[in-house]
Subunit: 97 residues, 2 copies
């Protein structure tokens, strides 16, 4: 399995509606991008200090399938329209599991 992880912090100006919209829009991608095997997203639970604010963990059969997702027009549209306007920082790793 090939696992993709990305963590975000949001700008101070990001509204609660904008933050929630990211989860909603990303959550639609598994219906459209058949290479996705598992897709989990959510805001930080607030149990540990100093955390980032939002996580995506997505599983694929292979690195090639991850690249289909990464570069998919629907994914890129969510990034451009809903993530980039409110992102402050981003950390990502892809790894074989």
């Amino acid at each position: 399995m090939f696992r993709h992880v990305v963590l975000f912090t949001w700008t101070e100006e990001a509204t609660e509606e904008q933050r929630a919209r990211v989860a909603t829009e990303l959550g639609r991608l598994p219906e459209a991008i058949t290479e996705i095997r598992s897709y989990t997203v959510g805001p930080d639970a607030g149990v540990s200090p100093g955390n980032h604010q939002f996580a995506v963990v997505a599983d694929f059969d292979s690195a090639d399938d991850f690249l289909v997702y990464r570069d998919h027009p629907l994914h890129q549209a969510v990034i451009a329209e809903h993530i980039k306007p409110i992102v402050a920082s981003r950390a990502a790793v892809q790894f074989e599991v």
Copy 2:
């Protein structure tokens, strides 16, 4: 399910042996900490630029079980002996899935 994600970058001085040792030592924790439901670790695959260098994704039944793991002496020993000496930056999120 309660999912814990942490991403690291390492210092430039970190040796390949030290980086590999982190994976080895963390990989022993699921045998010792029974609250862990799923545990995946690994170095970044190198398919996307600008990534962090190492990921941990761990699943638990609850936030309370995550806290048992987070504060467990064996986990804290791995952090103190193998992670802290080579960590440059850390990003983490815990979220309900």
